[in-house]
């Protein structure tokens, strides 16, 4: 049977991708950002994940303002890295486990989560940067070490789905994966954040104390974390900090009790606090 063994929380700052693509990760500005992912890359190798279920948001790349699905599941055979206005990232095409994706769509919709199904979709930095930080450099003509099922969450137009909704969707995804009849090791990523505001006069907001508390809650009291109202993210963690609702999908898909095996936090990467956590199911 397929099973979810671990979860990864991770920022997806575009500048981190640019730093890797241009080979400047050793520069003093970037070195501490990547230092915190050294252990993660070793861990990722040991996991030998067959599939990464990757929760992220599209930044007006696959979806412009004409269509804004709250939850969109990638069911295509593959997903090309998109040109976001400065050329596509030189990373491999992302390949899906299409059978598992279709199974999840069917199971989760009957579980009353009305997903949008994407049979064609380009993916932006929200998806490729977490793969890059966790897997390290992979040549453009190579293959990512795991298949990837993308789940896109709207966090651009207010309101994003509530933390509670995200947490419960995580549980439905868990039920779907648990009932898939193929022996697969699945690791789930919840991406975005930490505190950041990209826009207008309050741009540059960082709230390290709030971020630390958020990570503690996600680990130890996930239900309370899932109840944080949108206003608190917007006010305390910046207008773009509301991305962190996506971490609850990841946490909802894990056991109630988890082991925190790694945590990393650094300010800044461009405008953003970088936060990262690895959680393992105990069983």
């Amino acid at each position: 049977m397929a099973r979810i063994t671990a979860g990864v929380g991770c920022s997806h700052v575009p500048a981190i991708g640019v730093a890797m693509d241009t080979g400047i990760t050793d520069q003093p500005y970037w070195q501490p950002v990547f230092e915190g992912f050294k252990k993660s890359r070793e861990w990722m190798k040991e996991q030998k994940a067959d599939v990464v279920f990757l929760v992220y948001n599209d930044h007006c790349t696959a979806f412009d303002a004409s269509c804004i699905p709250t939850f969109a599941l990638g069911c295509a055979a593959e997903f090309k890295p998109a040109d976001e206005g400065w050329g596509a990232r030189p990373v491999p095409v992302v390949k899906n486990h299409q059978k598992l994706a279709s199974h999840i769509a069917q199971s989760v919709i009957l579980d009353e989560f009305d997903l949008t199904i994407m049979n064609e979709m380009e993916v932006d930095h929200g998806l490729t940067v977490p793969l890059s930080v966790m897997f390290g450099d992979v040549p453009e003509d190579g293959d990512w070490p795991a298949l990837v099922i993308p789940l896109c969450v709207n966090v651009v137009q207010y309101p994003a789905p509530t933390g509670n909704r995200c947490y419960n969707l995580g549980k439905a995804i868990r039920r779907a994966i648990d009932s898939f009849d193929e022996d697969l090791n699945v690791v789930i990523f919840g991406t975005g954040g930490m505190s950041h505001q990209l826009q207008y006069k309050r741009a540059g907001l960082i709230n390290a104390e709030w971020d630390a508390r958020f990570m503690d809650m996600v680990v130890n009291d996930p239900i309370a974390a899932s109840q944080i109202p949108h206003l608190e993210y917007l006010r305390e963690a910046g207008s773009e900090g509301v991305e962190m609702v996506m971490w609850h999908v990841m946490r909802g898909a894990l056991d109630e009790d988890v082991t925190e095996v790694h945590r990393h936090y650094h300010v800044p990467a461009s405008n953003t606090a970088v936060g990262h956590i690895i959680l393992e199911n105990k069983a």
Partner: protein
């Protein structure tokens, strides 16, 4: 509907009302994601802008690259950043411009831990809001 988030200073929460107001502006901006569109826009901005029925004010803000005005008129940062990218301005430098701090001072603030939350939670804490 009560908009409790309107009390946050120096911030536009991109809700359904703003999305409606900014629709054509944002659709213009996002079109610049593609290289062929960036090339056409470069040749003649006015002709290109004619395709998008935005308001006079929105169009003027595009022409002036008035980044804050674009947000005031319903633009969203993930869209307006495509116009900035077209001009060779990345997210961090765009923030330097929007905050009025300038690129260097803004970068310095971020390296030193970013803008503190203290004094930046409510409009009541900002004199000019």
């Amino acid at each position: 509907m009560e908009k409790d988030y309107e009390d946050i200073p120096g911030t536009f929460v991109f809700d359904a009302d703003r999305s409606r107001e900014g629709y054509h502006l944002n659709q213009f901006c996002i079109s610049l994601r593609k290289q062929e569109n960036r090339a056409t826009f470069k040749v003649n901005e006015d002709t290109y802008l004619d395709q998008y029925p935005m308001t006079y004010e929105q169009r003027a803000a595009v022409k002036d690259r008035n980044w804050n005005r674009l947000l005031e008129l319903g633009g969203n940062i993930y869209y307006t950043s495509k116009l900035a990218a077209n001009d060779g301005i990345n997210f961090q430098n765009l923030a330097g411009l929007m905050t009025g701090m300038g690129v260097e001072a803004y970068r310095e603030m971020m390296v030193n831990g970013g803008r503190s939350i203290d004094g930046n939670r409510s409009k009541s804490e900002w004199r000019d809001e």
